[in-house]
Symmetry: C2
Subunit: 274 residues, 2 copies
């Protein structure tokens, strides 16, 4: 999907919500746990229920890998189902991968066959990011400033130039390819909204993927106000547990839809009013 | 495996070599590519041939993930085969994972069921590392200073305190649990041996996993001289491509053994002579 297609979807649905399918097997409704592919069965019902209210869908690979081969299959089945039935939903593998150059090509191959985007961590530098970004028609989402407490230990340390480490990551990578605004996004946690002005000073136009809304209690209002781009919103607002685990009853998908609608209506004025 | 067991193996075999099964499907001998599980068939022959010359074995997950479900299966079959037949070989999943706390627990579950150790990246801070380190009887190997060019862009930048970023990573994590020397190792590339004194100033006793020897041309002599611990070697010296792709002929495993012996004999005096 190209940037225009993502933006059109946001404007059409009046939503910038990314639903996070962190479908932890332990937390699934009990009646699904005996299904042949319980995570896939769960994801299918969730995405069927919320597809017209979300513009993106993020699968955190950890929750599938913990189920070994079976989980890996459930993840790819989910991805294939979404791409087939909802081709306009932007599909993200939240894999936070990283390795030296020749090895990253292998990860790019693993995920770009089924997903539109993959998340990547920056500790190893540009040569570990280029193999992802060099794939045209696909998106790399670089982890810049995360929503957890530990972000302070490194990302929010100052370099001798007085820049924060996360600022250096943005500076180093923002021009990694000439058209990076059309295939590179950044992760910035909603719990770190006080740094969004700094982020936007360095990358005024790149799309941001924002975790930390909902269960993690991130400040979504400041995030939207300070994070929105001038012309095309430029935000994907991820909500995972708060939507997908709204209920453990038979009506879990319906409740997930209700929660999605709740968030969509709450965010709409801030996102779309001038 | 505990630290004593690893050290005993090193002393017994007079080797600190870790063989890296970066078994890229494209690079396998052609006559293996039609096997039902080509990567597993390849790995099995390699490990059978070198098992008495190596103390550790590292599987880089990228080379298996690129083959999707099948590759994931080949990786776990390989791990199970090694643990069953060579229980004293220290088995590492080189996964370079990272995520926020609750999610990391999922990764720990994925890898610690089959492997003795998993590699982890430090960009997200201690709360992203603790879920791994808190597993007793298992090892976390934290990426500190990598062997690629891009290491300079972040790991070798100076903080306002004048520490290098990688030094802060070591400082922040070295006491993450009270007995960290018995379940936390660090990755330090052999191409960065000029920094090993700094590394050993901060962590004199932790084991180091050293990539970059062989195809990447790292300085193994300086690495051993400056990196060895006082009492128990404290090094795992990884060689991947240079061993496993010694030949593409029927005798590839025998050639891999020859190359392993070549390295083992070359390193032995520096490792074991006082």
């Amino acid at each position: 999907m190209n940037r225009d297609e993502i933006v059109n979807e946001i404007l059409k649905k009046e939503s910038a919500i990314c639903v996070g399918l962190d479908s932890d097997f332990q937390l699934l409704p009990d009646f699904l746990k005996n299904e042949k592919m319980p995570q896939f069965a769960f994801n299918k019902q969730i995405i069927d229920a919320v597809s017209d209210k979300v513009v993106a869908c993020k699968l955190n690979t950890a929750f599938y890998e913990s189920q070994k081969m079976a989980g890996w299959q459930e993840m790819f089945e989910t991805a294939a189902y979404i791409k087939k039935n909802f081709p306009h939903i932007f599909l993200i593998a939240d894999a936070k991968r990283s390795d030296i150059g020749n090895t990253c090509l292998q990860y790019a191959e693993a995920f770009f066959s089924h997903f539109d985007a993959v998340t990547v961590t920056p500790y190893l530098g540009k040569d570990s990011i280029l193999p992802f970004v060099s794939k045209t028609e696909k998106w790399t989402i670089l982890v810049a400033l995360t929503s957890n407490i530990g972000a302070e230990e490194l990302q929010l340390q100052r370099l001798e130039t007085q820049e924060f480490v996360f600022e250096r990551v943005l500076q180093n990578t923002k021009n990694i390819v000439s058209d990076s605004e059309t295939r590179l996004m950044y992760v910035v946690g909603a719990t770190k909204s006080e740094y969004l002005e700094k982020v936007r000073n360095i990358i005024p136009n790149h799309f941001l993927l924002i975790p930390g809304i909902g269960a993690q209690g991130g400040d979504w209002e400041s995030t939207i106000r300070l994070g929105k781009t001038k012309n095309d919103i430029g935000l994907l607002l991820n909500i995972s547990r708060d939507i997908i685990f709204s209920s453990k009853d038979k009506n879990f998908a319906e409740m997930a839809r209700k929660k999605t609608t709740f968030w969509q209506e709450k965010m709409k004025p801030l996102l779309f009013n001038p």
